[in-house]
C-alpha cells in the first residue's frame, strides 16, 4: 500500500497520541518535503539494514505537551525518530 503525505501525517499523529495518551486533536504539526539518506529514512531500528539510496519523503514534526517529536515517512513507511533514544517503525 502506498502512503500519501496526509496518510503519513495521520498515522504519525495517531501513534503519538497513543504513546503520550493525549488527544490527537491537541497535537500541533508541521510537515516538510525532504530527502533522507537511506531507505530506512535515516531512522533504522536496531538490527535493521537498508538500501543506501537517497529517498524522498516527509519530515513530520509534532508538538504535544510542550515537547517536539519527529516522524519520518515516505510512501512505504512511517518511522518515529529517536524517541527516548531509539527509532521505531510504526
Amino acid at each position: 500500500m502506498s502512503l500519501s503525505k496526509e496518510d503519513a501525517v495521520e498515522k504519525a499523529r495517531k501513534d503519538l497520541a497513543q504513546r503520550l495518551n493525549v488527544d490527537a486533536g491537541a497535537i500541533k504539526e508541521s510537515v516538510e518535503d525532504t530527502d533522507f539518506p537511506d531507505m530506512a529514512l535515516g531512522a533504522a531500528e536496531d538490527d535493521e539494514m537498508s538500501g543506501q539510496m537517497i529517498t524522498s519523503g516527509w519530515r513530520i514534526r509534532l508538538d504535544a505537551n510542550g515537547k517536539n517529536y519527529e516522524y519520518r515517512a515516505d510512501k512505504n513507511q512511517v518511522r518515529l525518530y529517536k524517541y527516548k533514544g531509539k527509532n521505531y517503525r510504526i
Partner: protein, 466 residues
C-alpha cells in the same frame, strides 16, 4: 680588402652567428622538451600523490585542451590572455589546485610540440607541455571506443561522461574503452543481495541467472529444500526473489542490463549472469539475519559449482554484527568478493563505522557526482573506504520495464561490482585477493578524494582490464 668586401664578410658573419644562435635555441628547446615533457605511464600516474600531480593527471584526460602551460608567478590574467590571443589560442581552463597552470586550447590545431615550443620561448612562461591522453596503451587508444546501441546510453554519464547536463567530460569509468577488451561473460555470476530483482524486466531477463539443471535445488538444514530456479528469497525462505521495491532492480541494471540490444540502457557488463537475492522488503529494508541467510545461500551455490564470484551489497547500517562479519569472511575464503556501499550520511567511517562496508575483506565504495566531486551525501574514510564510483543521478532499470535515475552509494557499489565482473570475465581464474588488488590499483586519482578514500581514486574499467 676593400670596404665593400669587409661589409660583405661582416654581414655573412652576422648571418652565421644568427643561424648558430637559432640552432642553439632550437637545441635548448629540444633539451627542455626532453627534460620537461613526460608521457606519464599509468603506473606512474597511480603514484601521483600531491594535489597538483593529481590535478595535472586529471587534466590530461582524453578530449581536453591540447597543451598545459604554467605561467610564472605574478603574470597577470590580462598578460596571459594577451599572449594566448597573440598565438590565436584560448585559455580553456584554469587548473584548480595547481596554481599558475592553464589549459590552453590551440585553435589553429598546429602540432602540439610546436605550440609547446612557442610558449616555452616566452619570458612569462615557466613550463609547458602537451596534454597527452595517457590512460590507455597506444594501440587501445587508437581504436574507436565501442558505442552500444542502447537508446538511453547517452544518459549514462557514469559509463561515458561527454559533459552531458553540465558534467565534467571524462569523469566516468572509461567503459567504452573497457569494452574493447570485454563486454562481459555469461560464465560470470554476480549475486545482487538486495530487495530482489525484477527478473522479467526486458533489459535484464536475458542476463538473469537460472539454476542449471545439473545443480541440485538448495538444501538447508533448517529450511529444507528450496526450489531456487530464479534465485533466493531469504524473507520468505522461498525461491522467488521478485523485487517489490525497485532498489535491487536498479542495482542489477547497473551491473548487467543487456548491452547492445537496442533497448533502454546497458550495464557495465553487456553479458553477465545476475543472481537475485532478496532480503529487503517492499520498503527497502531488512534484517541482518536474512542477509546472513542469503550470503550462506551464495556460498552454498558456489560450493555446488555456480561460478558466483561477487556479492554486490548496496545496503548497510550502523549496527555491528559479528555473525554477519563472519559469514562475509567465509564468502571471501570461498573466493567471493563482497562489495558494499559506504553509506550516505556524510560521515567519516574511520570514526563512525558503517556495516557491512567497514568489515575486513569488504570493498567499500563511496559515491562521486558527474563533476568528479565526492557526492554531498557520501560517507568516506581514508582507512575504511577503498574506492569511489559514480553514484549520483544514475539511470538504471526499475520495476515494470521502466527506468529511473537514483542516487546513493547504493548506485556506486554495483558500478564496482560490474567492473569486478568484467575482470573475472577476462581472467576467469583470478583469485579474490588479486581481484580486489586489481580494482584498487587501477583507479584514476581524483583531487576531491585525496584523504577521503584509501586509493584516492575513481574506478576505471579500462585500466582494470589492462
Amino acid at each position: 680588402m676593400n670596404r665593400n668586401n669587409i661589409l660583405i664578410h661582416l654581414a655573412l658573419a652576422v648571418v652565421l652567428i644568427l643561424i648558430a644562435a637559432f640552432a642553439g635555441q632550437l637545441n635548448r628547446w629540444r633539451t627542455q622538451w626532453k627534460s620537461h615533457v613526460r608521457i606519464i605511464p599509468a603506473a606512474e600516474k597511480k603514484r601521483a600523490t600531491t594535489s597538483t600531480d593529481i590535478a595535472l593527471a586529471e587534466s590530461r584526460l582524453k578530449g581536453q585542451a591540447e597543451i598545459l602551460v604554467k605561467f610564472k608567478p605574478g603574470v597577470s590574467q590580462a598578460a596571459i590572455d594577451a599572449l594566448t590571443s597573440r598565438f590565436n589560442d584560448r585559455v580553456e581552463d584554469r587548473i584548480e589546485n595547481a596554481p599558475g597552470w592553464e589549459s590552453i586550447d590551440d585553435q589553429d590545431d598546429i602540432d602540439p610540440n610546436l605550440a609547446v615550443a612557442q610558449y616555452l620561448a616566452q619570458p612569462e612562461v615557466e613550463y609547458a607541455e602537451p596534454n597527452y591522453a595517457i590512460e590507455l596503451d597506444a594501440v587501445e587508444a587508437a581504436l574507436p571506443p565501442i558505442h552500444p546501441s542502447d537508446p538511453r546510453f547517452e544518459d549514462q554519464w557514469a559509463l561515458a561522461n561527454s559533459g552531458q547536463r553540465g558534467g565534467k567530460q571524462g569523469a566516468d569509468i572509461s567503459a567504452m574503452h573497457a569494452w574493447l577488451t570485454t563486454t562481459g561473460s555469461d560464465k560470470v555470476v554476480v549475486a545482487v543481495l538486495d530487495s530482489g530483482v525484477d527478473y522479467t524486466h526486458e533489459d535484464l531477463a536475458p542476463n538473469m541467472w537460472k539454476r542449471p539443471a545439473s545443480i541440485a535445488p538448495y538444501q538447508d538444514d533448517q529450511l529444507g529444500t528450496i526450489e531456487d530456479e530464479d534465485g533466493f528469497n531469504a524473507i520468505d525462505n522461498a525461491g522467488d526473489p521478485m523485487d517489490e521495491n525497485g532498489h535491487g532492480t536498479h542495482c542489477a541494471g547497473i551491473i548487467g542490463a543487456e548491452g547492445g540490444n537496442n533497448v533502454g540502457i546497458t550495464g557495465v557488463n553487456w553479458k553477465v549472469r545476475i543472481m537475485p537475492l532478496k532480503f529487503m522488503n517492499a520498503g527497502g529494508f531488512g534484517t541482518t539475519k536474512d542477509a546472513i541467510e542469503a550470503i550462506n545461500y551464495v556460498i552454498d551455490r558456489k560450493k555446488a559449482g555456480v561460478n558466483v564470484r561477487i556479492i554486490s551489497a548496496s545496503w548497510g547500517g550502523t549496527q555491528r554484527s559479528r555473525a554477519l562479519q563472519d559469514v562475509i569472511q567465509k564468502a571471501y575464503e570461498n573466493d567471493i568478493l563482497f562489495v558494499a556501499a559506504a553509506g550516505n550520511s556524510t560521515v567519516n567511517n574511520d570514526r563512525s563505522p558503517h556495516y557491512p562496508s567497514s568489515y575486513p575483506n569488504v570493498l567499500s565504495v563511496a559515491a562521486l557526482d558527474r563533476h568528479d566531486q565526492l557526492a554531498k551525501f557520501s560517507n568516506y574514510g581514508v582507512k575504511s573506504v577503498a574506492v569511489a564510483a559514480p553514484g549520483v543521478d544514475i539511470l538504471s532499470t526499475w520495476l515494470g520495464n521502466s527506468y529511473e535515475e537514483k542516487s546513493g552509494t547504493s548506485m556506486a557499489t554495483p558500478v564496482v561490482s560490474g567492473i569486478a565482473a568484467l575482470i573475472v570475465a577476462e581472467n576467469p581464474r583470478i583469485s579474490v585477493d588479486q581481484l580486489k588488488k586489481r580494482l584498487l590499483a587501477s583507479t584514476d586519482p581524483i583531487v576531491a578524494l585525496k584523504g577521503k578514500t584509501a586509493t584516492g581514486g575513481r574506478v576505471n574499467a579500462a585500466k582494470a582490464l589492462q
